[in-house]
Symmetry: C2
Subunit: 234 residues, 2 copies
């Protein structure tokens, strides 16, 4: 099947978790909104049919239309061999991915704690305060949890020796935190050696390495989830 | 099977979405943390086994341990006949529930936009600003989306004439917004007649009505997701 993921064409954002899985899984796919007039096609989907998505990313897979990155991954993973087969394992992977989803929202809110309809410059002071609490409490709690998950699994991945889509997402979390908070992350990384080792293993996977070196990988920028503001990285 | 949901015993919070489904589904269940020493039992689960949850709510179902309210509902719903059977319908329900999950986080952040480790009184000014944007943009967008979903389904429920767990969650969203923002909600409700009609239908279901009248329904309070602060309801 040729999968049709839809996401904003100029950012990694929440779509990147899906793109990484499609790439590692060797899927046949077209990143629709990155084609000519693709954004128009994406916008039309919000008005189309009886079950329109609320927001990107969403995936068209045959007749199915699936929104929310964690659910797209839950659906794709067995087909792309990116999760073990048992129900318990699929539930565990989805549960971890939903925790990552929650974390991604918190990462976004470091620069937009009041509203994503306002500019960063309109919410600088609360952003600084939010980010302080985020690094004091939330990053240690969230990343510490995944460090323990990897200790429990024996590593290098969350299912032990077998890669899953959750590992690809953790790779992306590390990459994004490094981009947004290079100084803070440099200090923090020694506390999560297993997560960093996982990140290094994922980066060396042949398909992921080829993807990262290609034009299909959109660079980090000052848009979307992952941003760098010097004032927030002290 | 006797289900064992775990959640903070003194609040509705994110656990309430699970409780409503168990009640409407007529499930045999024990709300573990509301039993004697139940909170201790819940806290031990975070250290137990190789796959501990990150946070409540979670559900023990036989050998399975499942965290995140949306995933618990995805798992329970076919067993409790709270979702149609087809894959497309289950995906649609889960997708809607994940949008509700995102909305619940935004509702929580109206009173805690900076950090949930600080008191409301320490973040009054950003809370007021956040809440203004929330009611100006997010509530109309989110609730307007569900209003359209109901228009598309023909109503009264998101799957038409058949009740699903998503409807129970939408009921809870309306109840929570009425508690937290009585004045704002009173003005807003006329814009979402289908959602309000759904809320009324759910409230009249015999099992839900019995639950709401029982001691099993924890009252709204100034803890957790749903809170009332006069300053935020102008």
């Amino acid at each position: 099947m040729r999968y049709q993921p839809y996401y904003w064409p100029e950012i990694q954002g929440r779509g990147e978790f899906v793109r990484l899985a499609l790439e590692e899984g060797g899927a046949d796919y077209v990143d629709v909104a990155r084609q000519g007039r693709g954004v128009d096609a994406m916008m039309r989907m919000f008005e189309a049919g009886k079950r329109p998505p609320f927001a990107p990313p969403f995936l068209k897979a045959g007749k199915l239309m699936i929104a929310h990155s964690a659910l797209i991954l839950f659906y794709l993973a067995p087909k792309l061999k990116l999760v073990p087969r048992s129900e318990a394992d699929r539930v565990w992977a989805h549960q971890l991915q939903l925790t990552i989803t929650d974390f991604v929202k918190e990462i976004h809110d470091t620069h937009h704690p009041i509203s994503n309809a306002l500019y960063y410059e309109q919410q600088r002071a609360p952003a600084k305060r939010y980010t302080g609490e985020f690094w004091r409490r939330r990053v240690p709690k969230m990343m510490g949890y995944f460090e323990r998950v990897l200790a429990n699994s024996g590593g290098p991945f969350v299912f032990g020796r077998r890669l899953s889509y959750v590992d690809l997402s953790l790779f992306q979390i590390v990459e994004g935190l490094r981009y947004g908070f290079p100084k803070r992350m440099k200090r923090f990384e020694k506390k999560i050696p297993r997560v960093i080792a996982l990140r290094d293993r994922v980066a060396k996977r042949p398909r992921i390495a080829a993807y990262l070196a290609s034009e299909r990988r959109i660079p980090f920028s000052q848009w979307g989830i992952w941003r760098y503001y010097k004032q927030l990285d002290t």
